[in-house]
């Protein structure tokens, strides 16, 4: 599987760029990451519980923290920090 070598929050924290070792670069907006956060706060605890968030156009990334070997915790400037984004999930969001 593809493994990230570099993860960077760019453009004042509005864009996340992940470079994978297979040459692919995934770019996802902070807004998309925020509304698609894998956290239970957004996804709920089962199918059909997902919350639709609005008003996150201007959200910015203010922190990136590694989680073990498999994910990055993204801290947003609206205080949301409970989403653990696995390497594959970020790539999936990039489409």
């Amino acid at each position: 599987m593809a493994w990230p070598t570099d993860i960077a929050a760019l453009d004042g924290g509005t864009l996340l760029e992940v470079v994978y070792d297979d040459g692919v670069t995934a770019r996802v907006s902070a807004e998309k990451l925020r509304v698609e956060s894998p956290s239970a706060e957004v996804q709920g605890h089962g199918p059909g519980q997902k919350k639709t968030l609005t008003g996150k156009e201007n959200v910015r990334i203010v922190g990136l923290e590694p989680i073990g070997n498999y994910a990055v915790k993204i801290v947003f400037d609206d205080g949301h920090s409970t989403g653990l984004y696995t390497w594959d999930y970020v790539r999936e969001l990039a489409g």
Binding site: D6, I7, V62, G63, L64, N69, Y70, L84
Partner: protein, 371 residues
């Protein structure tokens, strides 16, 4: 043929970079590799002192060459900068914003989890003897007993009493036995007192045992995990980058099914599997010498082949191992050289070699930055 232990012994006769402490205790040996009678060793030093330390390098080389069975020896000096897990490099990784690549434990090179799916397969005994065996290979080793609900490290290492606060730091000093630094919740509560905790308490206790204990400097921290795939496993997998997991299983299907679950969990969080140990592999009757395969045999080896992970070795079901464990005298130390101890040494050598070269599938942590 010279072994890794012989090389370490030879290097212990040479004084390290400070001119006082033997090389093996100076925390500067960054690698030893043996191949067909040839030995390669690396000593990490401050690059500015390379010229000054050349005599030390030459002495180390001569000491290894003098070993019987060694055809050639190459000792190199390497720059200290490579030792990424050290505290010095942790500072550099927070340039802007709150991005960092180092939630690793400062001063601890490798963290290895010893796990199983099922309880009662002898995980703690394996973890304890593996830790002592790694120490015998010349590594600085610690053992973290992460089984909060059934801590066994105090008994297995023959330790009691309470740990002290480390001088000058707000950290607990680990206890010591057989050259291993040991920390367990068992030192902090009365023996026999139950721990009745929900998940969040477990998570915070595990984090404290990792981060509020004066572990450094260590080459390997062995973590004795509780059985299953619960809060403790998840906390470990999220809190620190694990170098890998050793899976312990008995050869019977019932245990192997759970072992498979454990392996699947580690794979999910990208923790490399260092290999499977088959514990209670067979029983040799002390009266007639006949061999009985109580839990069937080679099940773990087959499982390892099927899953494409290394098979690390077999440990027999043995009264001596059991008795010495209950007495707090790990067989690797108290019966050094016995077949039982050798079985553990064999596993330790395989684990040490894999840690040095990097486990299959292990990848470096991505760089993270903001701005």
């Amino acid at each position: 043929m010279a072994t890794r232990e012989d090389v370490i012994k030879a290097l212990s006769t040479v004084l390290g970079p400070d001119g006082k402490t033997p090389l093996t205790e100076s925390d500067s040996i960054s690698g030893v590799t043996l191949r067909d009678g040839k030995v390669f060793a690396a000593i990490s030093i401050d690059p500015k002192r390379a010229r000054e330390l050349e005599p030390m390098r030459a002495k180390a080389e001569a000491a290894i060459k003098a070993l019987p069975g060694v055809i050639g020896a190459v000792v190199t000096l390497t720059a200290q900068a490579e030792r990424a897990a050290g505290p010095a490099s942790a500072k550099e990784t927070t340039p802007a914003g709150r991005a960092s690549t180092a939630t690793a434990l400062p001063g601890v090179k490798h963290i290895v989890a010893v796990a199983s799916g099922k309880g009662g397969v002898g995980k703690s005994t394996v973890a304890c003897n593996l830790a002592v065996a790694l120490g015998k290979l010349g590594l600085k080793v610690g053992l973290l007993d992460a089984d909060l609900f059934g801590p066994s490290a105090p008994r297995l290492f023959g330790l009691s009493g309470r740990p002290n606060m480390a001088e000058g730091a707000e950290k607990l000093e680990p206890m010591r036995s057989e050259g291993v630094k040991v920390m367990s919740i068992g030192f902090l509560v009365e023996e026999g007192a139950p721990i009745v905790w929900r998940g969040p308490m477990v998570m915070s206790a595990i984090t404290q045992l990792l981060r509020e204990v004066a572990w450094a400097p260590l080459d390997v921290l062995v973590v004795d995990m509780p059985p299953g795939t619960g809060d403790t496993q998840l906390t470990m997998a999220q809190n620190v980058p694990l170098a890998g997991a050793v899976i312990v299983s008995t050869p019977q299907d019932l245990a192997l099914i759970d072992a498979r679950r454990g392996i699947a969990m580690f794979k999910q969080v990208h923790v490399p599997i260092l290999g499977i140990v088959e514990n209670m592999s067979y029983f040799v009757c002390p009266h007639c010498g006949g061999r009985t395969e109580i839990f069937a045999h080679a099940g773990a080896r087959k499982e390892a082949e099927q899953l494409g992970v290394p098979f690390l070795g077999e440990i027999p079901l043995d009264a001596e191992i059991r008795a010495h464990s209950d007495d707090g005298k790990p067989v690797v130390a108290s019966m050094a050289g016995s077949p039982q101890a050798e079985a553990y040494m064999e596993i330790a050598r395989a684990v040490a070699a894999t840690l040095e070269t990097g486990a299959p599938g292990a990848k470096p942590a991505p760089r993270m930055r903001i701005g």
